[in-house]
Amino acid sequence: MTGRTGIEVSLALSEAVKMANADVIAAYPITPQTHIVEHLSELVADGELDAEFVPVESEHSAMSACLGSSAAGARTFTATSSQGLALMHEILYIAPAMRLPIVLAVANRALSAPISIWNDHSDIMGERDTGWIQLFAENGQEVFDLTLQAFRIAEDPRVMLPVAVNLDGFTLSHVIEPVIFPEQKLVDQFLPVYRPQIRLDPAKPLSMGMFGIPEIYTETKRASEMALMDSKAVIVKVWDEFEALFGRKYSPIETYKTEDADTILVSMGSVSETAMTAIDEMRADGKKVGLVRIRMWRPFPDEEFKAAVAGARVIGVTDRSITPGSHAGPVFMEIRSLLYALPERPAVFGFSLGLGGRDVTRDNYKYIYDQCQVLEDTGQDRYEMVGVME
């Protein structure tokens, strides 16, 4: 597949995995991830992708098989959502600690109960601290691009960490929209064959997954934390290279009409597009409002974020999940604590919206803008769940 095509975003993601020439895909079906793995199994069945498709019996085993495959030295992919990601939870921590460059697509979905098949970010926020590089896509093109980039980033010898590519379930995963597919030879140039420096190899036996006594555990955690922090510089370099080859630019933090904005809204994922249209409409009404979109959630790009919001008086952070018991969402907490140390800090307010598939609309963002002004004017500090029926 090459050139500009109308395609379902899930299928575009699978095509990226095909163009990346993945060796092993171990996956278990869950809505709304299913179209990704269905298409991959078709590509394998038709011989378009020379890979082993391991139809595991659970997501726990999917991630476990991915660790095995990656440790063996194979380029490895899986995808999941929601409860499936939660079932992987235990194993998710182990992949970055063992420096295994697995690529995981998360078609983001709410967590039970009540069971909900629809989109929000509760699933990935539960895995925030697992040590994975976590990137968010806004549209189909980004899903394709980030998936390709994810392999390149993960396998970079300076990184060697797993990468989660987040795409909103249904809201993005099930949409048909234009995606530009590159030539395979350009992809091969960007993403060479994976040749790990260390792997499970009888010719050079090594042991992985050691027993860590207290004398060493702290140091191992520090080492993997620093690897994650240091990955940012490499990711940015990979994005520069990607831009040079494919002409599309990616940044850890992306801005929209923020230059002269006194109020900045913050969002992540596909609803950022709706937010941008809302910004256009508010700008047309004379409001000085801009949008900051977090593409790189982990490692969190502190400096880039501070630079992006410099000069703003008020910041309204939107979360697609909640942190029960804390009066705050995870993105909001991240940002407020980040900005707290600034000598002249803006007011930061938190809003959660779009939980469990509740439609996120332009009106939501206009409301959030208005609320930011009210809260600041009246000196209140209140976290709000937007649109909840009282």
């Binding site: 500009r4 095509t5 109308g6 395609i7 379902e8 709304p32 098949i117 629809w118 909103d168 249904f170 809201t171 993005l172 099930h174 949409v175 048909i176 929209e177 234009p178 596909s270 609803v271 597009e273 709706t274 941008m276 249209t277 598939g357 439609d359 996120v360 609309t361 332009r362």
Partner: protein, 182 residues
Amino acid sequence: MIEVRIHGRGGQGAVTSAELMAMAAIEGGKFAQAFPSFGPERRGAPVTAFLRVDDRQIRLREKVYKPDIVVVLDPSVMNISRVDEGLKPDGLLVINTGREAADIRKEYAFKQKMALVDASHIAMEELGLPITNTVMLGALVKASGLITPEAIQGPLSRRFGSIAARNQKAFDRAFTEVRMEG
């Protein structure tokens, strides 16, 4: 930007028709978006699908609340929901029906323009099945001019393979037989 909402029942191809339109528009150099009303609906349940077409990049992930066009694949759906809900006053309804326009307007009190075609009849004759999605696309394309009729050929043949020709014929018949009203 033109926004379209397609009403049908699970299994009638509402989603497929939105997809085919989006693919045709994208291949014609436009920007488009097609997506279903996401849910666990099974075969037979009323469903909707959405389509947006524009000349520039579409930055919107909301559902379609104020469509320019409503397409009704299955006339029985009109008895259980207001298919014209949110439809812009200068909008268009494209309806699968063998009935007279005046009849429909009287029964459902639609205020907008209507394009009517007996898609079920055409589908039975051309496809041997009461699946009206490709038929209704013929009517939609003619009534809306969203894409050229030629633009559908590529997406149709890729989607339907060996039965693409029959679908193409069904599309063509609806394109010719659609009745404009108002």
